[in-house]
Symmetry: C2
Subunit: 404 residues, 2 copies
């Protein structure tokens, strides 16, 4: 497996684009993206568990009942959530797009990201759909990536190439995350394309497995958004032997998808609102995977720990505190904690007690922009990793600024 | 029932004091407090649910097995948590105190608040115990309150007077909360005294009931500390008919204790690190009390909502988002939300959808320093209230500053 360029257009038979259509006031900012496959795809999505769900999620769920899709359309600037006519609008967007592409509306995955609770005007979609469709091209992944960004500061776009049954295969993906266009929402969206041939059932299975270990292990602020969605479209054009079982090919595909999703997850965490540091918490030797995950997510979500990392402060007591209040099984007296980065690694806690460390050394380790927290529970053989970011003045600024 | 002065010394037969003994470097800051009853008390405590527990909590639990105590000693500046010899030190503190007071060590409640994971030196206790005991007096509540403060900016000290079986009774209390002496811990401590006669069993029952609706409904940053503790000592000197059942007197006592604990809870929330606003979230018409509590706590804990309140931003979408990801039962389409303060009240969401409001009016409402979020679930007859504070630059500053 190797990384390649091209994002969602790296797999055979996919085109993409992103334009400014007028949902956002800033005309230099793209706000509408489209990804289209030349042929029908097997498609699957995972959705937010928030009970308050965006209208596009309701419509997309309906459209994916048959496990097939040909296109993904997504706007930024408005989440189309908590609106009285939200589903109508989402359906109208699909119909406009279907007409312009000459496909069926229920073969379209629709998504929105932006402010919650402000009506989404259909006009910009009406006036710009032809332009959107006519701008589709084989190098359009970057534009599509720009069209879904909100307060994101970097593009999150990846693609890999690998081989299945002698055929060259690809997975491409774009994502947005941890941003708010207005200080009114937080959305994680990821769109994945692949030319791999895979059954609907296996596609559904693999994204559940991968999302559980990647996107679901990211936390920027503990707030689960109303519009989170990851969608995968697999068009089969790589002509590999179709994956219909959890065989060796399934594992290769899963490994490639996992790689892409880890890249996106780290990208989202590192680009968290106001973030200056990527925090990676790896828990090892847990009694179960769930215990490892629970501990890793509790640490990565702790406001106190996040603020300490911003301050380059090796106060491991907050890590112990966050382990202590999470609902996992472990023995406090066996916990070992290291802090690590490119600058080195220091042991700060052993057997649940403080271990004397050099403060200058700690400051050096924590001055890097990617910090690893390594927690060894000495209590089993399972492990898990979670990603997050530090809590900074800018997080408060971005989310506390009065809407204007 | 009426508020009176005197704090923990308002009930008959209690003395208190607070001094600087040298645990903290700043000599103007008191760091050791003592509360003593003239006679043996029925005593009960509730403790943090964090699995990483401060050594004083382990020792206090042991001492309260018989439901009796005569004194509370508490230091600030060091949490005595995650230290190899923590329990030894806590026991030594009790022994020194017991000797000086001429009582038994296991009649002492011991508590600590401050940095986690730094050894607590017994020397300051040895050299200052006589001074501490000799400074006990009937007006010492304020000094005791000062001795347990860390980054607290206001003293949290209350007392009430009420009548039981024709006798004048009192409850007094002090608390510290939401502060960190070093950026290494967060501790809530509350010490309550009363001259009411009440059985050990009823005292245990009433504090569980009251804490569930008061301290357990406060959140500053979602981080449950390792040293949280509330202790009550009841010495019976009011000579009311002893409360041995859940009768009318129990309810009067509970109401008075509830009042005190709500005052302390609001005080802790309002004095949360960096806070500029007290946020009170009241959920009404829920299916169950638990549903109401879960919703109220989820809203009050949301970083996005807290940052919005700092920014005076009426982005109710974040409130809906926080309701949506909590584990409670309700119908999204029935949710109604008002924002209120001394400056007025505005309806922002009805039937789970946005309700048009005047932005200038909203800004006026949210510019006050005490904000109420009123959530009506229109789904039942239960209600609950939670208290919190806004998320500010200063929270990040206080918790991100490098230890020096």
């Amino acid at each position: 497996m190797k990384e390649v360029k091209g994002g969602v257009c790296a797999p055979l038979g996919f085109q993409a684009t992103g334009i400014h259509c007028g949902i956002r006031k800033n005309k230099t900012k793209k706000d509408l993206s489209l990804i289209v496959s030349d042929v029908m795809c097997h498609a699957a999505s995972t959705y937010t568990l928030n009970k308050v769900k965006g209208a596009p999620i309701v419509v997309t769920k309906q459209h994916l009942l048959n496990g097939e899709a040909k296109a993904i359309i997504c706007n930024s600037g408005n989440a189309n959530t908590c609106n009285p006519n939200g589903e109508d609008i989402a359906n109208q967007v699909c119909e406009l797009c279907a007409d312009a592409l000459n496909i069926k509306a229920d073969d379209i995955i629709v998504a929105s990201t932006g402010v919650i609770g402000q009506p989404l005007d259909i006009t910009p979609f009406q006036t710009h759909m032809d332009k959107l469709v006519s701008s589709l091209n084989n190098n359009g992944s970057e534009a599509a990536c720009e069209g879904i960004m909100t307060t994101d500061t970097v593009k999150k776009e990846y693609a890999v190439e690998f081989e299945l049954s002698g055929q060259t295969c690809h997975i491409g993906a774009i994502a947005k995350g941890s941003g708010m266009i207005h200080p009114n929402m937080a959305t994680m969206l990821a769109f994945v394309t692949t030319d791999v041939a895979i059954s609907k059932e296996m596609l559904n299975t693999v994204i559940q497995e991968v999302v559980a270990d990647t996107f679901n292990m990211v936390s920027v602020d503990g707030d689960t958004s109303t519009n989170d969605m990851l969608s995968v479209m697999a068009n089969g054009l790589a002509k590999n032997n179709i994956i219909i079982d959890k065989d060796a090919d399934y594992e290769v595909f899963k490994e490639a998808l996992m790689y892409i999703c880890i890249c996106l997850s780290k990208g989202i965490a590192k680009d968290g609102e106001g973030a200056t540091k990527l925090l990676t918490c790896t828990v090892s030797h847990a009694c179960s995977v769930q215990d490892a995950k629970t501990v890793a997510k509790s640490v990565i979500t702790s406001s106190l720990f996040k603020a300490a990392m911003f301050g380059k402060d090796a106060n491991w007591g907050r890590i112990l505190c966050a382990i202590g209040y999470c609902d996992a099984s472990y023995d406090v007296d066996k916990i070992e904690v290291h802090l690590a980065s490119q600058a080195g690694q220091i042991l700060v806690c052993q057997n649940g007690r403080g271990y004397p460390f050099d403060e200058d050394e700690a400051l050096k380790v924590l001055s890097e922009d990617e910090i690893d927290v390594l927690i060894n529970l000495h209590d089993g053989s399972h492990h898990a990793t979670a990603w997050g970011c530090d809590l900074t003045y800018d997080y408060v600024k971005i989310n506390g600024d009065y809407r204007t």
